[in-house]
């Protein structure tokens, strides 16, 4: 096996969201010059970053800063407009509650569906099924359709599956904002464990306490650019100053 210096390496990545087409557009739009002339929004304006093995990287910043776009580019869900993206290893991307779970299928059926989407084999899931269910703590509800689940339960199920895919890179996007304190604690314990075993983690959060406790390095992002990169304490300090300043401007 080749070993790489970095699990993730972004070099001057830019991302423009196109506005040419929208959902629910019609064929007539092709002939609408106004629409075609519209410029897209630059979500990322030249981002370079790296993630090493066993490292936890935090990303903070105001809404629309481009935090989630970075995670989407790393997980190949969206492609960059320009720049270089190198990802060595399997990624697991955790986003908002219940996304990707099918409401009409039961907990178990969703474990299989989600597991396979995240790149597991059916056999592998079958072997790990007990562990996944146990970690989620949903033993009593696992045969119910997911639409009967609370939002906390959906997060538990999603997180349980994701960490059992044995990813090399875990991308966590605000997902642990829901869920009760006990489960959160369990998740962070697991994240620390995974970190020790050598996987890389990128944590996007608005919860500064989580950032300070669980990341080794933090990026403060604003308007698609990196404002600061370094020690989490410093990043959080600068972000708070930025928020204060913004508040003052408003007043």
């Amino acid at each position: 096996m080749t070993s790489y210096d970095y699990l993730v390496e972004l070099k001057d990545v830019k991302k423009q969201y196109q506005h040419y087409f929208t959902v629910g557009g019609t064929l007539l739009d092709l002939f609408n010059p106004q629409r075609v002339r519209k410029k897209g929004i630059w979500a990322l304006k030249g981002i370079s970053l790296t993630l090493k093995k066993g490292e936890a990287l935090g990303i903070i910043g105001p809404n629309g800063a481009g935090k989630s776009t970075i995670l989407k580019i790393i997980s190949r869900i969206t492609l960059p407009t320009s720049g270089e993206v190198n990802v060595h290893g399997k990624t697991a991307y955790l986003i908002e509650v219940g996304a990707g779970l099918h409401p009409d299928l039961t907990g178990i059926e969703n474990i299989f569906l989600y597991g396979i989407i995240l790149g597991m084999k059916r056999k592998e899931i079958r072997e790990k099924l007990d562990k996944i269910i146990e970690f989620s703590g949903l033993q009593d509800y696992i045969d119910l359709p997911v639409k009967k689940y609370s939002s906390g339960m959906k997060v538990r199920l999603g997180f349980s599956v994701a960490i059992h895919t044995e990813p090399d890179i875990l991308l966590v996007d605000e997902v642990l904002a829901v869920g009760d304190a006990a489960f959160k604690k369990k998740c962070y314990k697991k994240i620390e464990e995974l970190k020790k075993s050598g996987i890389g983690i990128i944590l996007v959060s608005h919860n500064m306490k989580q950032i300070l406790e669980h990341t080794d390095r933090t990026i403060f992002l604003n308007k698609g650019k990196i404002v600061f990169e370094g020690r989490p304490e410093e990043a959080v300090k600068r972000y708070n100053e930025f928020l204060e300043k913004k508040k003052e401007e408003k007043i």
């Binding site: 959902v23 557009g25 869900i77 990707g100 009409d104 299928l105 059926e109």
Partner: protein, 261 residues
């Protein structure tokens, strides 16, 4: 094409899972379940039978009852048209999955094509029942159905990828497609045998890649003869070229699906 086959092999478990999910959801909620599968071609069969036998007082086919003739053609056409109509809004309906992880997006429509194939086999049971009541024998030529189905699936994949992919950008694709499929039905030998097509139009008529397949199914299942291979080969060629083109377009569109959905 090679890439498509590669993806099918690599992601076969996901395709099966999508197919399984589709079947489960569809039949878990509908109490009538499989009866619905039979109902669609059956109801059309009854109406067409009424028109030809009761109103026109004559069957366009010789040798066996008209309803068997219609039904056999209809089940394969129903597979074709309902599947394509069904796949059109697929990506919008599965936004949550698409935003969650990367996998080649074509596996979602492929799963539907596979799950609806189950319906064809379910409907075949009815064909056998009809044949048995009319004292028709099952011939070994029935095996020709499989290569014909393979060509049909190629064609369906091409159209499903094209329509579902473009639907992300233009919602009016579905109106165009349903009109196209409705008109297309009459250009196939479903209500009438292909022999009724005038000789000088035949070469033109069989440029429709579905026509030699529908004709072939019936020959293989009911008549114990082989399909008209010349036309089947042309159908294969057209289906292949369409698949290459549509898959190319689809892969281009796929790159920006997520930014739009």
């Amino acid at each position: 094409m090679l890439k498509l086959i590669g993806n099918i092999i690599k992601w076969r478990e996901l395709i099966f899972l999508f197919a399984q999910r589709d079947l489960k959801i569809r039949y878990r909620q509908a109490i009538l379940g499989i009866l619905w599968v039979w109902f669609q071609p059956l109801s059309q069969m009854v109406v067409f039978n009424f028109i030809f036998i009761r109103i026109f007082h004559r069957s366009p086919v010789k040798g066996y009852p008209f309803h068997i003739f219609v039904f056999t053609g209809l089940i394969f056409w129903t597979y074709f048209s309902t599947t394509i109509n069904y796949t059109i809004p697929l990506f919008k309906n599965n936004v949550a999955l698409i935003k969650k992880a990367y996998f080649p997006r074509e596996v979602i429509p492929l799963g539907i094509i596979l799950s609806n194939l189950v319906n064809v086999f379910a409907s075949m049971l009815l064909v056998f029942l009809f044949m048995w009541t009319a004292h028709l024998k099952v011939h070994l030529t029935i095996l020709y159905v499989f290569p014909l189905l393979l060509i049909q699936i190629m064609l369906m994949t091409a159209l499903a990828l094209f329509a579902s992919g473009l639907n992300v950008f233009f919602r009016d694709i579905k109106y165009g497609m349903s009109l196209l499929l409705y008109l297309w039905m009459f250009m196939n030998p479903i209500l009438y045998p292909a022999e009724k097509v005038p000789a000088h139009l035949k070469n033109f008529y069989f440029l429709n890649p579905m026509a030699p397949l529908i004709d072939g199914y019936r020959r293989a299942i009911l008549e114990g003869t082989s399909p008209q291979w010349k036309y089947v080969l042309i159908s294969l060629g057209i289906s292949y070229v369409l698949l290459e083109i549509c898959y190319g377009i689809f892969k281009k569109a796929e790159r920006i699906f997520n930014d739009i959905l």
